[in-house]
Symmetry: C2
Subunit: 274 residues, 2 copies
């Protein structure tokens, strides 16, 4: 509706290019140049020129209807080492869990106050879940998130506890005190549960994966309908898989597992997890 | 060893940024700024500045030893729609194939003269394969590549047949005439085989996946040791899975499948594949 467009977007070329790439979402897989300009505040002529350069490299593909993210980004993203090493080590064990339990299996890492899903194998007849490979969820309401937080440094936990603990269901833990209490329980037992805290009707059990230095690097979970998945029965399967992956990643091969730095944890990962 | 560095790399900011991102490989997951400068010909001071900007956005992560590709690229790459839709539709059927046959299952698309692997589920005790999610292989020597080529437009086939058909094993098809003959066979039967053509001792059977317009969009294969995998026995399982995925993608829902444009194919995908 604006007759003249104000140039309000980022100013550096790279900043603008990333702003354009950041326009795309699952729902908006294809956008017109006008839409990209409107979303970023970058003048349309500049959008046109930058999209041309991005397309040259394969970061975007031009289609009759507009622009979409390109295959080259997928290829490059697969080279990100944090993802690749974890996925390669974890996937065979995730396949075992799917076969043994027939429930949905997730692999996730912590990034800020959120988890990022690196892999997902979907059980037959399981609930439709909001998770997606490459997608994010708040850490405080997911099994994988709480398994990761329980063995993370105190500063990481403080960042999450100090952020807004969004209520996603009536069961979501939304106070720092309740979250801190639950993380202490998880440190003692080694198991994190999501009891309909992220999606109504869906439960989950998760365990941490340790890396070469004994630090927590990822978490694996099994999810299902609350009336069909007995989390207590599959918990030991999840732990068995995460112990195997941790061993494969070399946890404990170095100087040995470290407790969460500066933490008040009653148990270090080493004592609980092996 | 050079005392003065010549500025020989790409000149545009975006071109330079992509050249830096393109430095990383599976073997070189972490690089120093000096190494990145040497590989791209971009002066070290510029590398330093651009890496800072790339890190700000999460495209790279700075580590004590240097620089590595970042999680944000993985997340963005997962949004590339061609990959995402195919993977979501195909993965449950790939899990079925793995469970039914216990052999390694691949999902791949064609890009130029190469295939790009979108997904890989590894069978227990299977051969170590050079394939990797996000990795590439020449199309002419792989089952998925030949399944894709057989139902691709004539121009695509001509591009591959006209390129160097690299010999990877004594069994690799390396002449345009032999490749063209084999693609005609695949169009008739609907099955593509790799008989130790990409890796010695490894065989594979592949079938095409059709998209909404009836065009070939991907291929699925089963691979294994030549003395353990009877490709004839699992071929119908692969076709069953690819027919299911094609139906799910909506093949034939539109105006109907199209034969390879301008092709001399004796059968269109529609006649062979349903």
């Amino acid at each position: 509706m604006r007759s003249t467009q104000r140039d309000v977007g980022p100013k550096s070329v790279l900043g603008r290019a990333f702003a354009l790439l950041g326009c795309f979402t699952v729902a908006d897989a294809e956008l017109s140049l006008a839409e990209m300009s409107a979303r970023t505040g970058i003048p349309k002529a500049t959008v046109h020129r930058l999209v041309g350069q991005l397309a040259e490299w394969g970061a975007v593909e031009q289609t009759p209807a507009g622009v979409r993210l390109g295959m080259r980004l997928f290829e490059l993203g697969q080279l990100a080492p944090r993802h690749r090493d974890l996925r390669e080590s974890a996937l065979p064990h995730m396949e075992d869990l799917l076969q043994a339990t027939a429930h949905t299996v997730h692999l996730a890492v912590l990034d800020g106050t959120e988890v990022v899903y690196l892999e997902k194998l979907t059980g037959r007849g399981g609930p439709p879940l909001p998770s997606r490979v490459g997608g994010r969820m708040p850490a405080h309401c997911t099994g994988v998130g709480k398994a990761l937080l329980a063995f993370s440094p105190t500063a990481t936990v403080a960042e999450v506890a100090g952020s807004e603990l969004v209520r996603r269901t009536p069961h979501t833990v939304t106070t720092p005190a309740a979250l801190t209490r639950e993380l202490a329980d998880i440190r003692r037992s080694g198991f994190a549960y999501d009891r309909e805290e992220s999606t109504p009707g869906v439960v989950c059990v998760a365990c941490p994966v340790l890396g070469t230095t004994g630090d927590v690097v990822a978490a694996i979970s099994i999810s299902g309908w609350s009336n069909r998945l007995d989390t207590g029965r599959v918990a030991s399967a999840v732990r068995t898989a995460t112990l195997s992956i941790s061993r494969q990643l070399g946890a404990g091969r170095s100087a040995g597992p470290r407790p969460p730095s500066g933490g008040t944890a009653s148990a270090s990962p080493s004592r609980v997890l092996r």
